[in-house]
Symmetry: C2
């Protein structure tokens, strides 16, 4: 990891706050509030947003009315709006709603996948076809997210070759992007260094690779820095660190988008995001909660851009 | 930064909670409480502790009675007890109290050093001799800490060659270790990558180099990971993330020792610390406060050691 390899590179940031973030919160956000959050993110320069989930609203009431949310989004700018779809019905809704990207999830440990998706990994992967075929036929971007790519709360450490095998199967069956998720926030940088080339080998050059990192044990930003240095195409994050607070106050899930963009900017990466504007969105989002959100830069303030001499 | 370069390496951890941590807290800890904190850290395997400060108790009441604290410490194990001394009087007290290490501080930006030490950098460096000579003559280890090595709240980014120049002068005049402090928590990994070899050039091979990192903008652990990979000899941290909460709840200063040791352990580093025991010390420390401390691992729980295949 060197300064010279980082300066001037571009990395894509996907804000998952409106979907992954809000889904973990107790309070139901109205359609209007969800639309406003998304449009504020677009205003701050986000060009990829995990906006909705096409799942049964009885199972996930936070994500009801995905179609109404999408209708309210300002799509005049070149933004990629992503929605989660886990089966044929979800894919059908996503296509009808005209999302730009469909995200499918499989978990890399059998026990966790069984609890999360109600099926074995093998059956979940078979089910991927029912999503992939119509989505690709409709010309919509298709992403495969691999949950618990680094550690599982039930099985412990997850074998990287198992993750690579799943990534290879998703890519073979149509996934154009692979997201490696540290669902429980147990990963450390060396695990990314080990896993990344194995995934790259498994999926081939055309497939984009990104990471979805959690800060549960304070390793999320260390992992993000190494992910960027490894050449990851995209990183997920949520404004303010919204969502996924599985424990008492100050325990955190998602890495905060504005903190990630601060770090990447001062490391010399281009993200296309207006940091001042994004911090305003984080503060606005925090206004909905009684407790502070995990994002730090909105509290400490920005620090000036540093010279990345390697760029010159 | 590769997995293979990390596995099996040793890195020394210095817990600065009893000094740097408690000094920033409003509540005055009693001598007995301070001694108990230090002895609990020793029990958890810490072998280097920034325990006290020999400064005027009228200026820093939290650090009064340094001699009494040191008398209570269990020194039967091979622990290095460090104390801060900023002038001849402090050095005299430190020598009389029989500390194992004296730490002197100079700040790398003129404005900040003037506010912090009440003198220009040049005058502060001249004052170093009055500490260095008696300390070295007494056979006590001498460390020079360079505050604001990456950014200054008044002057912005700090030029690395300025930091290297100060490091060179400290080493030339007797400092055996140089600590590079990110006092305001503005650093990002590429800054460490740039600065580290410049410091190594300036101080020569015999001088040890370490970092004192803050997590104010969520970059502290990313910086610690890169510091370890660069070959840093030691890292400062404070149990629970104690101290230095300059903002509202959840804003943080020092990186938490137990979170740092969790990350380093799973990256394949040897720290000699008993993580379960250290987490207990963090919880005990947190019991003194109304708000949770910033450490995350004590809330989320440890995650099993991962295989570092590169070690095999």
């Amino acid at each position: 990891m060197t300064a010279s390899s980082d300066a001037g590179q571009t990395i894509e940031i996907c804000d998952v706050g409106p979907r992954d973030g809000l889904q973990s919160e107790d309070r139901l956000w109205s359609v209007g509030e969800r639309v406003e959050l998304i449009n504020r993110l677009i205003g701050a320069g986000l060009r990829r947003i995990e906006a909705v989930s096409f799942v049964n609203p009885k199972r996930v009431p936070q994500m009801a009315d995905a179609e109404a949310v999408i209708e309210g989004i300002d799509r005049s700018r070149n933004v990629r709006i992503a929605g989660l779809a886990l089966n044929a019905r979800g894919a059908e809704r996503a296509i009808a709603a005209e999302v730009d990207e469909v995200r499918f999830v499989v978990v890399a440990s059998e026990t966790f996948n069984q609890k999360n998706q109600g099926a074995s990994i093998s059956r979940t992967l078979d089910g991927f076809d029912a999503v992939a075929e119509p989505v690709r036929a409709a010309g919509i971007r298709l992403s495969g997210v691999i949950g618990a790519s680094f550690g599982c709360p039930f099985e412990g450490a997850v074998a990287p070759d198992k993750v690579a095998e799943i990534a290879g199967r998703l890519a073979e069956r149509g996934a154009e992007e692979i997201g490696l998720a540290d669902t429980i926030g147990s990963a450390v940088p060396t695990q990314l260094t080990e896993l990344y080339p194995m995934i790259a080998d498994a999926v081939g050059e055309e497939t984009k690779i990104g990471f979805h990192l959690h800060n549960t044990r304070n390793t999320g930003f260390a992992n993000a820095a190494i992910a960027a240095s490894l050449g990851a195409d995209f990183l997920d994050a949520s404004v303010g660190g919204l969502g996924g607070c599985p424990f008492a106050p100050a325990a955190t899930g998602n890495i905060a988008t504005e903190d990630l963009c601060f770090m990447l900017r001062n490391m010399g990466y281009e993200t296309g995001i207006d940091l001042d504007a994004l911090i305003e969105v984080a503060r606005w989002t925090e206004g909905f909660f009684d407790e502070p959100l995990p994002g730090q830069v909105m509290k400490a303030g920005l620090f000036p851009e540093v010279a990345n001499r390697a760029a010159g």
